[in-house]
């Protein structure tokens, strides 16, 4: 059944682990993330003939991922493509004995509160280690917009993390 993947196809396949990592961080949920990756891959296979050899495959795959995510968000508008907060933090890969595990859980939870557009930029740069120019290409936004989303997102995340646990505690108590 399983046929050998061609060299060209391998270019897509080798992106999959990073697409999954990004999707997990973006959606905060394993199942939603893998659905998103699956959507993205189907679209990529269908459009593969449009990809121009020599151009940036990673940026192209993340463009498709971004469009798929936007579609998902549009379909369930009220959910904003997000999962409940308890699932969100539970899905983060925190080993119970990991150092700073409470802090990490905090970051995962606060990321959820950022606007999607800021979350995308923070993760593409901070987690996927894309250059600013690659993010501009992947999200099809000007470099200046990348910078302002990055700056605002990081500052907002910083403020959310710094604030007393009030928000988180209230959410649990209610």
């Amino acid at each position: 059944m399983t046929r050998v993947v061609t060299e060209k196809e391998a270019l897509i396949v080798e992106q999959i682990p990073k697409l999954r990592r990004y999707a997990r961080a973006l959606t905060g949920n394993r199942a939603a993330a893998d659905d998103l990756v699956q959507d993205c891959l189907e679209r990529a296979w269908g459009r593969f003939h449009l990809w121009q050899p020599g151009s940036n495959m990673r940026a192209w795959m993340f463009t498709i991922m971004h469009n798929c995510f936007a579609n998902t968000m549009r379909k369930n508008k009220h959910q904003r493509g997000l999962v409940p907060i308890e699932e969100w933090s539970a899905e983060a890969q925190i080993a119970p004995n990991q150092e700073n595990s409470a802090e990490l859980r905090g970051v995962a939870e606060m990321m959820r509160q950022l606007p999607t557009e800021q979350r995308e930029v923070l993760l593409l740069i901070g987690l996927e280690e894309m250059t600013y120019a690659e993010v501009s290409e992947a999200l099809e936004i000007p470099l200046g917009t990348v910078m302002s989303r990055l700056s605002r997102g990081r500052e907002r995340l910083r403020a959310l993390i710094a604030q007393p646990k009030a928000a988180g505690v209230r959410a649990v108590e209610e």
Partner: protein
């Protein structure tokens, strides 16, 4: 010595390794003198480390079954291109025929298609004066065109198909101006999008295709606008771009 003041962008550039070695040193010197900024930078670096600590383990997870298998028939290099094109044209023709049959009653604004084709023929080969406002000033371009045609527009994103915005201009329609966006891929192939307000006499209309003088055009009408996208490529490729435009405008 500090060459010039450190900007907010450069603080982030420092965090993300986007600065050259010399500027890095200058930023480090600056941070020594500005403890508040140093704390911000430290926090930003900690954010990045936290993302990795949280999600890097996903890289090691085995892939779900079948995820790495190509899902659609691939256009293999061994298949002669002409054969692929013939199949695609047939598929396109059939879907086009059904498309038409379903919408026979709608008014057919063929003029939008021919105006778009003519504009494409005139502007797409231009090298120096292809657009009036280029993509660097996209925000200005979009607000200017929106104002002129009286409907809020956007320049759709076509990166998925390998095309990026070159810019745009104002062009004539029958009685009011139309907005015109030009896109280009890495090979220098261009597609153009012609958009105008929908006339009161026009009904909504789904995608239609027209081919004239080597230029293919997909055109359609939604609640607010009439659209025509023109390019010199297979119908199937142009269809994909038309659908990207539709989905972007529905955002």
């Amino acid at each position: 010595m500090m060459g010039y003041p450190i900007s907010e962008e450069e603080l982030h550039g420092y965090v993300d390794g986007e600065l050259d070695a010399e500027r890095r040193l200058e930023v480090e010197a600056y941070l020594k003198d500005h403890p508040e900024e140093a704390v911000r930078v430290r926090d930003f670096l900690a954010q990045n480390r936290a993302f990795h600590a949280l999600y890097d383990s996903v890289l090691e997870e085995p892939l779900p079954r079948g995820m790495a298998q190509p899902k659609q028939p691939q256009f293999d290099v061994w298949v002669p291109r002409a054969a692929v094109a013939a199949v695609l044209l047939t598929v396109g023709a059939i879907s086009g025929w059904f498309g038409n049959a379903a919408f026979q009653e709608a008014t057919v604004p063929t003029n939008i298609a021919s105006r778009a084709a003519v504009a494409h023929a005139v502007y797409a080969p231009e090298t120096r004066h292809a657009v009036e406002v280029d993509a660097i000033n996209e925000e200005h371009l979009v607000s200017w065109l929106s104002k002129r045609i009286g409907v809020t527009l956007k320049a759709p994103k076509l990166g998925e198909a390998g095309y990026s915005l070159v810019g745009g201009r104002l062009v004539p329609a029958s009685s009011a101006p139309a907005a015109y966006f030009m896109y280009e891929n890495r090979d220098g192939n261009r597609i153009t999008l012609y958009v105008r307000a929908r006339y009161q006499t026009e009904k909504k209309m789904s995608l239609r295709y027209r081919y004239q003088n080597g230029i293919g055009v997909f055109y359609w009408l939604d609640e607010r606008l009439g659209y025509a996208v023109a390019g010199e490529m297979t119908q199937q490729e142009l269809l994909l771009i038309a659908k990207l435009i539709q989905s972007d405008f529905n955002d």
